[in-house]
Symmetry: C2
Subunit: 498 residues, 2 copies
């Protein structure tokens, strides 16, 4: 039976994938710098081996035969994703994949070294190599998939998502935010004048912050038998369903950024931990693209954890772990002033939920130009500065590390990934409205620290479905509406203006 | 050219090896328990893939052709080791390797869970499976290699080493130690009566202990750009030359066991870090077997770091990191009372250097019987207790966790490994005598914390030669004598009786 052959093949691919994921985690969390060369070689070789296995000539025959086999619904859905995986892998040669993986990892390693030094000129030649490979990749994929080059890149992160559908959503957001952000800043100013924010009673010991984060993760439903929390320069959530590796980074003067980072990654972690484990080696058993993944983290972080009811639940934990005396007399509203704030800033990962989409729109527009060859890597800083000025009124002249060198995505060749973040925010807002309809007393449950019904609802609607359905159907069925900006705009308006 | 094909093949094997090593490190240091199932699957699959690659039919042709090619000395030596690797890999099928790796990892995971519970009966059925696979492995290897079954297992850890050569060395040690240990205990008693040992001024904070360990590692020559120190239940040194992962475990009441563990693993780490990096993907570029590896760790730990001169160098570090006030008035002799002591104990890894070989002899004799089918897994506890009684005068009845469940080796199927530890002690003693002849003012250099000449000598004699020569030649040329017990006996006598 051909399905059984595809199944066995995908168990092997799962093992190679397991190794690559865990080696990537290790590189970010543990690896000493001198290990980088051999790590890049190993990753490139493993990627090439996986690619060779998955694109071996006989696989096409198995696929064609499996598509004609009489299979149950689960297996039929699996074959659809086997086919999609196969089509996408066959766009590139194994040799190209190996070259690209090694170039990406080395560029990422160089970026880690040069970003703190603000050394754009030292970084540029290597970055040009990565962009050249990305353009070549986009061309090859575009030809094989019958898509525009940038769409062919987006397809790797968000199957079915297209720039022509994203652009109007982003244009709408740009127009909305041009008025909304100044209005939100003014409203914030009025609120602060009426009731000044209590300054956070720092410093906060890192160990205490970690214990607080672990306590909230556990309360929210993260399974520590199948995951853990570490520290890395760039927070992430990676790994597999049975072994989720999350990271954050701490600063001792304020605990909010690290904690919100933990809650954000916990959203990713819950998605991974609640995927159907029996299909973990099938593409149809994996998370349905990065926009939906990000919707789960943003649901957790912005929709849920920046809400008053969440802090009614969380304040006793804050007191217990960071010191009861420090938070004497604090209530949930005092915390809201720290977790609901709008500000113009240079750094995407530090941005608030209102200005965040502007950071993404900037990158989306530049990526399209980079992949299309309309923007050269050398001109990136000037273009960045211009966009920062027009979108956020800020300048990054000479400040490369807080400008185009701030993110790991481009150094690691992940062009086409950024739109997911803003799309995820739109989906999360729609999901929140749907959750409220499905669970009428949701606010009270949250205030009581009871996330069981909410998690059951998320599991049924999104997590357990993995990649059995296309993303647009999952979004429509999981939120009751196709992807749009309306819920997100309602959310921002309710939280920051009303 | 066939050599080039072997070279390319071994780059692929290096990548798979890299993944397996780092996944093993991650499992011991980081992995949450629930990740164990998928980890075992991934490891088994990677092992099978490596095995398939290395035993593909064309590899035999490449090998035969490469042996006929006109190659330089380095490549000729590489081909010798390619052949040895190929012969050993072809003893087993890829399917057998996958089954065995998974069984070993699962048994090891079970052992981690059941050892603290002293649950021998829960452990036995899984252990029986591992022993059955090991016997099957030994049979298959014996047939293919023309060796006795247990020798064929030893061959996997110490190429060229044979039980018939080990047994007389061990018998000689057994005879020697039967008189020596009581004499050493009596001498120790006399010394302590004359000058009681100063009790260690604990407790010592774990962070302080770690800083002390790192400082000594660095002074000794460990390169932290290419390695790191972590914590695991069972201390180890693993990884690759460019990325050495060492672990220890700390206890707050005494700093000596953790520190000596660190120094021990540093010996392994220096060997790895100083292997010829250009050949890292050739078997001839790897360390020459586990006895030589252990000789490097024991050279560091027992020969060097349990010596007065070492503590003349180390005491200022101890004071700086553990608290100057605590060690007010302490000198190197005060520390010697804590690092040179003989005692009967149940635990191999905690044993002193005089009783340590007895722990190995016990395991060597039992392993031979287990592999030969003369001892059944169910009878291991009784046989263990009997041997403990006759060798060390101790009983382990009902105390499985400090008896046959104390080591990871058997649960993980590593039969044939144990002899290396005692052989390493013999080699280390010979190397120390040779180092003293080569560097006349070695004691003064050590007291001054200057390890450069010693490390240069070790690099030239052992480290840089990797597996270019057979172990017996390396030992003879590196220590000036064939492997024997004389130097070790002289060493023990000088340190503990004189």
């Amino acid at each position: 039976m051909s399905f059984a052959k595809l199944d066995a093949l995908n168990r092997r691919l799962e093992a190679l994938d397991h190794a690559q994921l865990m080696l990537a985690v290790d590189e970010a969390v543990m690896m000493p710098p001198g290990g980088g060369g051999k790590r890049a070689e190993a990753m490139a070789t493993l990627a090439a081996m996986a690619h060779e296995l998955a694109t071996a000539p006989e696989v096409a025959d198995w696929l064609a035969a499996a598509e004609a086999e009489d299979l149950d619904a689960e297996r039929r859905a699996a074959v659809v994703e086997f086919r999609r995986q196969h089509r996408n892998l066959n766009c590139l040669s194994s040799d190209f994949v190996a070259r690209q993986v090694e170039a990406r990892i080395r560029c990422e390693q160089l970026w880690r070294e040069l970003r703190p030094k603000n050394d754009w000129n030292g970084f540029l030649p290597t970055f040009e190599g990565v962009v050249a490979l990305a353009r070549e990749e986009a061309e090859r994929r575009a030809e094989a998939l019958g898509l525009a080059p940038y769409d062919a890149m987006i397809e790797q992160y968000d199957p079915g998502s297209r720039a022509a559908a994203i652009a109007p959503l982003f244009d709408d957001l740009k127009t909305f935010l041009a008025d909304f952000v100044p209005a939100a800043l003014a409203a914030q100013e009025r609120r602060r004048t009426a009731r000044p924010a209590r300054p956070l009673p720092g410093p906060f010991a890192i160990d205490d912050q970690k214990r607080l984060g672990l306590a909230l993760m556990e309360a929210i439903g993260f399974d520590f038998n199948r995951g853990r929390l570490d520290i890395s320069h760039h927070p992430f959530c990676n790994g597999i369903s049975d072994d989720v590796r999350m990271t954050t980074r701490y600063e001792s003067d304020g605990f909010v950024p690290a904690l919100m980072g933990i809650l954000h990654e916990t959203g990713h972690g819950l998605y991974e931990q609640n995927l159907p484990r029996a299909w973990s080696h099938w593409p149809s058993g994996k998370a349905r693209g990065m926009a939906l993944h990000e919707s789960q983290s943003l649901f957790q972080e912005t929709q849920l954890a920046r809400r008053r009811e969440f802090w009614e639940f969380a304040m006793p934990h804050v007191r217990r772990h960071l010191g009861p005396a420090k938070f004497d007399g604090w209530n949930a509203d005092d915390m809201l002033a720290h977790v609901q704030r709008v500000a113009h800033g240079l750094i995407r990962v530090d941005a608030d939920e209102a200005t965040y989409p502007l950071h993404i729109i900037l990158r989306f527009e530049m990526e399209r130009e980079l992949i299309a060859g309309k923007l050269s890597p050398a001109d990136v800083p000037a273009r960045w500065d211009e966009a920062m000025g027009s979108l956020l009124g800020l300048s990054t002249v000479g400040n490369f590390k807080d400008g185009p060198m701030q993110d790991v995505h481009w150094p690691s060749g992940a062009f086409g990934y950024f739109p997911s973040y803003a799309l995820g925010a739109l989906i999360a807002a729609q999901m929140w409205e749907a959750a409220g309809r499905a669970i009428p007393d949701l606010p009270a449950q949250i205030a009581a620290g009871d996330f069981a019904a909410l998690n059951d609802w998320r599991r049924a609607g999104i997590w357990s479905k993995a990649s059995m359905l296309p993303a647009d159907r999952l979004i429509r069925e999981g939120t009751g509406a196709p992807l749009a900006t309306a819920a997100f705009k309602r959310h921002l308006t309710a939280r920051y203006l009303d």
